[in-house]
């Protein structure tokens, strides 16, 4: 029973900057501000931190942040590769480090100026060094102009439509639901700006079948968390969000944004592989999940996540969405902050912050009686998932 990290650690602090299109400051400052806010939220000081975890894509070094937030020493630090697929890895690492006694209190952060700085969707190149594994992978796609995340994901979305009869409107229903939540979230970029299904259907084509409103935003901002032992969490000021389970996942056919070579490409084999254990580690099943924060860089890939995690059968997510189950007041409200489609694109970390607020009962779009929230990291990449529990 791989349950050693289950409920050994809890998220006890969350912090964020504003989400914008041009933060006007460095990613380092954003990171420090978010970490400081998370520490204050937890009622802790920089000197209480002895671990850090973040994305390998994050441009801010642990030592620099530690010094500025008043920290003294880190016994543990780790990074997770693969863009938004790293959104759950740091929690796996933090919980493992705490459960094993490596350290007591881990700060997790992600800061990015993705709109005012390097825009991932622009087709701009990052590091073109011949040793960069991204470039080696993308060498089979860039020469054709096949160089945006929307286009890569369109391959899978098209297959999903072909195999299960889902339509662009089904993807639109996901976008409309996220924008509905964002419309009542003052921190969302699209606050008070809901869209209709017709708006979605008439929004311009980006990479067929993905329309503009199927694509997440580009944002500047930072989110940070404080994770500590379940024991210590009891003495702190916030309702703890226990990490009931957390897992990373890579399978044989996983590729970096370009999973085109498996037997099927319409699903998310990484989640198919890990979902059962995400539940068993927590001793829970899909019926126990009260709401979910699912990674939504592009709306089509929300659907197979609902299937992989057992909320509906394979190919039936379109019906689940048509029935309104992921909406406000639905059976499984998804991304009540507005998601990355509606709130901001902070590489999924703002979704995990919303999961913590739902556990605490402090979301602006609070779901009643939330005890368990499923959170997922990016799809189409090496990824991970976790279940948070009200402590």
């Amino acid at each position: 029973m791989p349950a050693t990290l289950s409920r050994k650690a809890a998220i006890v602090g969350i912090g964020a900057t504003e989400f914008s299109k041009d933060s006007g400051r460095t990613e380092m400052q954003l990171a420090c501000e978010a970490v400081k806010a998370a520490l204050e939220d937890a009622g802790l000081k920089g000197a209480d931190i002895d671990g850090m975890a973040t994305f390998s894509m994050d441009n801010n070094w642990e030592n620099e942040i530690l010094r500025q937030v008043g920290g003294k020493e880190l016994k543990f630090f780790s990074r997770t590769e693969f863009g938004g697929g790293a959104a759950c890895g740091p929690f796996v690492h933090a919980a493992t480090a705490i459960a094993s006694g490596l350290c007591d209190t881990v700060v997790i952060y992600r800061a990015l100026n993705e709109r005012s700085g390097l825009r991932f969707g622009s087709g701009q190149l990052m590091d073109t060094s011949p040793l960069n594994p991204n470039m080696i992978n993308f060498s089979h796609y860039f020469p054709f102009g096949f160089m945006t995340p929307a286009a890569w994901i369109a391959f899978s979305a098209r297959r999903y439509m072909h195999e299960y009869g889902a339509t662009s409107e089904d993807f639109g229903r996901v976008a409309v639901s996220m924008r509905d939540f964002a419309a009542t979230n003052p921190n969302a970029f699209f606050y008070e700006k809901p869209i209709t299904l017709e708006d979605h259907q008439t929004s311009r084509m980006i990479a067929d079948p993905l329309r503009l409103y199927d694509c997440c935003q580009e944002s500047d901002g930072a989110v940070a968390f404080v994770v500590t032992s379940a024991e210590k969490a009891k003495d702190l000021q916030q309702t703890p969000a226990l990490i009931a389970s957390a897992r990373q996942s890579i399978v044989k056919d996983t590729r970096m944004m370009t999973p085109f070579y498996g037997e099927t490409i319409s699903g998310i084999p990484e989640f198919d592989a890990c979902a059962a254990e995400v539940y068993s580690m927590a001793g829970l099943n899909p019926d126990d999940i009260d709401m979910a924060c699912l990674y939504d860089h592009f709306s089509p890939w929300v659907l197979p996540q609902l299937e992989a995690f057992g909320f509906c059968d394979q190919g039936e997510a379109k019906d689940y969405v048509r029935d309104g189950h992921i909406n406000r007041g639905g059976k499984l409200p998804v991304n009540t902050h507005g998601g990355q489609l509606g709130e901001a694109y902070i590489h999924g970390m703002n979704g995990i912050a919303e999961a913590v607020r739902q556990i605490r009962g402090t979301s602006v779009n609070q779901v009643e009686n939330v005890n368990h929230v499923l959170v997922t990291a990016g799809t189409g990449v090496p990824t991970g998932a976790a279940i948070l529990e009200r402590g």
Partner: protein, 312 residues
């Protein structure tokens, strides 16, 4: 041009240091017309310069008075020495870039109408070779003295240049005579995949085959995922297949591609998948399962790609 080391080049130019050259004279005395032209061009409305009964030259005009004419000549009576001989020698030896780094000026008095200017130039320092973001080169410092008709120094300037060797860049495409053409991003070629790109250059679409268990694989990778052998050869694909999935890219429009840009994932008849572009097909006519065939095209110099079209 001989290839000199940086140290040898320094040895060659150092004897020219601290040699004061000049005078370099001005074509015209300070005049109301030229002061008016300068102030107008610069948007300098300071009333000090153009008074009814008096004209004062803005100090920053200093360098302008002794500039060469449009043909590059100094006025008669000027020295024929090249004040920048050191820079010229460096340029001949591959340090062809020059960048002004700093310009410190000292003014001792205002020039007035009728003053006649000349200047002298002295190269006073050259550093050792330095590496910078723009390339390797030498910082060269010049001191210029500006004198009036009474041989009195009214201003001086300390100017530092960076004379550098720009890093070598790939040569521009031979055919391009117009604006610079943006190329497709070239693939990274390494031991694992160079056979693939070289095959395309030779007009063949090659699929990697494990020589131990016979499994085909694409994209290339060093080890067979079925039997872990690193021994492999290739077979030549017919380039025939069917569309497994597709997208039509509309936005953003990335140069040099034409939009909309149809991209297909093709199930090749040999049993592997390949990403490519689809041509000769209206976007609305693309369907999953449609038969396609390939033609290898040299899309730009040194880059050949398998491009698909609907099967005939």
């Amino acid at each position: 041009m001989s290839e000199l080391s940086a140290a040898e080049l320094l040895e060659k130019v150092k004897p020219l240091l601290n040699r004061r050259v000049g005078p370099y004279k001005s074509f015209n005395p300070v005049s109301r017309t030229q002061v008016w032209q300068w102030c107008t061009a610069m948007g300098d409305n300071n009333p000090l310069y153009q008074q009814d009964d008096k004209v004062i030259a803005p100090p920053t005009m200093m360098q302008m008075w002794t500039m060469r004419d449009a043909q590059g000549n100094y006025p008669e009576g000027s020295s024929t020495d090249n004040p920048y001989e050191i820079l010229s020698i460096m340029e001949e030896h591959g340090y062809a870039g020059v960048m002004a780094v700093s310009y410190d000026q000292t003014f001792h008095r205002y020039l007035e109408e009728g003053d006649q200017v000349h200047h002298y130039s002295t190269i006073v320092n050259i550093t050792d070779e330095k590496s910078t973001a723009v390339g390797k080169g030498f910082f060269v410092t010049e001191i210029a003295h500006f004198l009036d008709q009474n041989e009195e120094c009214f201003a001086e300037a300390t100017i530092t240049y960076f004379q550098y060797q720009a890093p070598k860049r790939p040569a521009a495409p031979k055919s391009s005579s117009g604006p610079m053409k943006i190329n497709r991003v070239a693939p990274i070629e390494n031991y694992d995949n160079e056979h693939y790109w070289e095959g395309l250059r030779q007009g063949k679409l090659l699929i990697q085959r494990c020589t131990s268990c016979g499994t085909l694989r694409h994209p290339p990778q060093p080890m067979c995922e079925c039997c872990q052998s690193t021994e492999w050869d290739t077979i030549e694909s017919t380039g025939k297949g069917t569309v497994y999935t597709f997208t039509v890219m509309h936005y953003p429009e990335i140069p040099p591609f034409d939009y909309p840009n149809a991209i297909v994932l093709v199930d090749l008849e040999e049993g592997v998948r390949l990403v490519s572009q689809l041509e000769n097909c209206k976007p609305e006519d693309i369907e999953i399962g449609m038969a396609v065939e390939m033609e290898i095209k040299e899309v730009q110099e040194g880059m050949s790609l398998p491009i698909f079209k609907p099967a005939q």
